[in-house]
C-alpha cells in the first residue's frame, strides 16, 4: 500500500518562558494509505502534539512531514488552513460541536468552504448523518443529543467533505462502553468499507483493538512496533 504520511526526524519544542521543553524527539513514522493506526502512551507523552502535527494544526520545530506528497511543514498558516479543509477530518474527545447549530448545520460547516450550493450542502450533510445513523436527529441541537450521538455527529462532520484521512484524539475518552463501541464500530466501518485512513490517539486498549496496528509513544519517542508498516528509519 502507498505511504500517505511520512514523518522524518520530527522534533517539537515548546518554550515555556525561558524553559524549553522538547515534547517530541526525532520521531520517524510512515502511515500507509488505508491504515487504521492507534497511538497509545502515557499522559504527557506527546500523543496530541504528534496528532496535531499530522493534522496540520501545528508545525514541527525540526524535521519534515510529507502527506500525500506535500511538505505540510512548509506551508504557511493560510495555505495550511486550505490544506486541512481539503484533506483532514477532525474528531475530538469532547466532540466540539457548535452548540447553537443543529446536527445538520454542524455537519454542513466544512461544506461552507467548498463551492457547493446550499441544496448540495444540505444533501451531502444528510447523507453523512445517515451514514452515522442519525438521519432522524438532523434538527437536534447538540445539547439534545447523548454523548455518543454527539460524537457520531462529529464523525459525520469529519467525513462530509470526503477528506483523505481522519485524526481522532481520544474519540471515546468521554463515552460509556456501549457508545464507545458504536463510535469505534463506525470508525472501523469507515476504514474498511470506505477506505479512510484513520489515526487515533487513545488510552483505552480495547479501543486500540479496533485498529489495524498500535504504536506507543513514551516521553516523545516511538517505542514499540506492532505488525504493519515499520517505525524508525
Amino acid at each position: 500500500m502507498a505511504v500517505l504520511v511520512e514523518i522524518r526526524d520530527v522534533s517539537k519544542v515548546y518554550e515555556r518562558g525561558r524553559q524549553k521543553v522538547e515534547v517530541l524527539h526525532h520521531v520517524n513514522l510512515d502511515i500507509a494509505e488505508g491504515d487504521f493506526l492507534a497511538l497509545m502512551g502515557p499522559s504527557g507523552s506527546g500523543k496530541t502534539t504528534l496528532l496535531n502535527l499530522i493534522g496540520g494544526l501545528d508545525s514541527p520545530t525540526d524535521g519534515s512531514i510529507t502527506i500525500g506528497g506535500e511538505r505540510i511543514d512548509r506551508l504557511g498558516e493560510g495555505a495550511l488552513a486550505k490544506w486541512r479543509a481539503a484533506n483532514v477530518g477532525f474528531i475530538f474527545q469532547f466532540y466540539n460541536l457548535l452548540p447553537m447549530l443543529s446536527a445538520q448545520k454542524n455537519v454542513e460547516l466544512p461544506l461552507l468552504l467548498t463551492h457547493l450550493s446550499g441544496a448540495q450542502r444540505r444533501q451531502n450533510a444528510a447523507i453523512a448523518l445517515q451514514l452515522v445513523g442519525l438521519a432522524d436527529r438532523a434538527s437536534h441541537k447538540p445539547t439534545e443529543l447523548s454523548g455518543g450521538q454527539q460524537q457520531r455527529v462529529a464523525i459525520a462532520r469529519a467525513i462530509v467533505s470526503d477528506p483523505r484521512f481522519l485524526v481522532c484524539d481520544e474519540p471515546t475518552g468521554d463515552l460509556d462502553r456501549q457508545s464507545a463501541e458504536e463510535v469505534l464500530g463506525l470508525l472501523q466501518m469507515l476504514n474498511r468499507e470506505h477506505g479512510k485512513t484513520i489515526i487515533m490517539v487513545t488510552h483505552d486498549p480495547r479501543a486500540a483493538e479496533h485498529a489495524r496496528q498500535t504504536l506507543h509513544l513514551d516521553k516523545g519517542t516511538l517505542v514499540e512496533e506492532q505488525q504493519g508498516l515499520a517505525v524508525g528509519h
Binding site: A81, W83, A85, L98, P99, L109
Partner: protein, 387 residues
Amino acid sequence: MKYLHLVIAALTRRKARTAFTLVSIIAAFLLFGLLNAVRVAFSGGSDTLAGNERLVVASRFSIMTGLPQSLQARIAAIPGVKAVGHQNWFGGVYQDPKNFVLSFAVDENYLDTNPDIVLTPEQRKAFAETRDGALVGKALAERYGWKVGQKVPLISQIFPRKDGDMTWPFTIVGIYDVTPDAPNGADQMFFLHWKYFDEGNQYGQHEVGWYVVQLSDPADADRVAQAIDALSANSDHETKTQTANAFNASFAKQLGNIGLIVTAIVGAVFFTLILLTGNTMAQAVRERIPELAVLKTIGFSNRSVLGLVLAEAVLMLLVGGILGMLLATAVVPALGKGSGGMIQLPQLGIRDWIEGLVLMILIGVVVGVLPALRGMRLRIVDALAGR
C-alpha cells in the same frame, strides 16, 4: 451570505445579553435621531435669500429688541414688496405654565404675509372688528375645546398689563385652517391684535417685534433685503433682513449653541455605547474561543473568522440602530403634538439616515475589531487544549 446563520447563531447564544445590548443601541440611536432633528431644526440659518418670497426684518442686535412702528410704511414703499405685516412675541400660557401657547400680537397686514393659514372673509372681518379678538389654529382650539365667541384668558409670561395683571382676556373670533403643506405647528398658533397688546401693556412703546415681508417676486429677495436694511443704516435700530427659515433658526439660537450641545450629547452617548458594546463583544468572543478554534481547525481562514466576529458586531449595531431611528421617526411628530407646537422638529431625512447608518457600521467595526483580532489570532492547539 452563507455565513449569516453563523453570525445569527452567535448573537442568539445569550439572548438576554444580546437583548440588553440591543436596548442600549436602540436608546442611543433614538437619541441620535431626535437630537439630529433638533440640530437640523435649529440650523436653517444657511438658507440663501434668493428664491424666498418671505423675508423677516428684525433688529440687527437682538431678536428681543423691538423696531419702530414707523418703519412699516417705509418698507411698504420699496418696489417689489407686496405686503408688510408685523409680529410681537406674546409668550402666553393657558391656565397653567405648562400649557404653552404659541401666541403672537400681529397687525391685520400680517395675515396677508402668512401663506400657511386659511381664513374666510367673515373671519377676517370679525378679527378686524373685535379689539380683544383672537384667531386660533384648529389644532390649538381642539386641544382646549375652544369655540368661536368664547372668552379665553391667556397669561403672558413676559408682559404685564397696565394694572400689573399678567392675565389678558381674549374673545375667540375665528378658528383657522392651514394649507396642506403648512409646516408642523402652523395650526397651533394664537394671533391677537397688536393694538390691543401695545395699548394694554405696561411697557407699551409702540414697538413691533419684527416685520414679515411678502415679495412680489422671489428673485428680488436680495435687492429688497438690502433696500430694507439701508432704511435704518446708522440709526439706533439697524435691521437685519433674512429668510423666514433663517429667522426661526436664529430665534432658537437664543437658547444657546444648540449644535455644539447636541454634538456633545451625541458624542457622550456614543462613547458610552462603544464602551458598553465593546465590553459585551469582548466577553462574547472570549466565551466562544473554543468554537472559533473549531472553525479554524476545519479550515476557516483567519480572514473568515475576523469577518464573522466583525459581522456580528456590525449586524447588532445595524439592527439596534435602525430600530432606534425608526422609533425616533415615530416620536418626532408626537413630540410636536405633545408640546403644543413649542417643539417643532423636522422628520428625519435621508441625510440623517445615511449619517446614522455610517455611524452604526463604524461603531460596529470599532467594537468588533479587537475581539475579532483576538479570535483571528488564536492558536488552534492552545485553544483546543483550553490553554
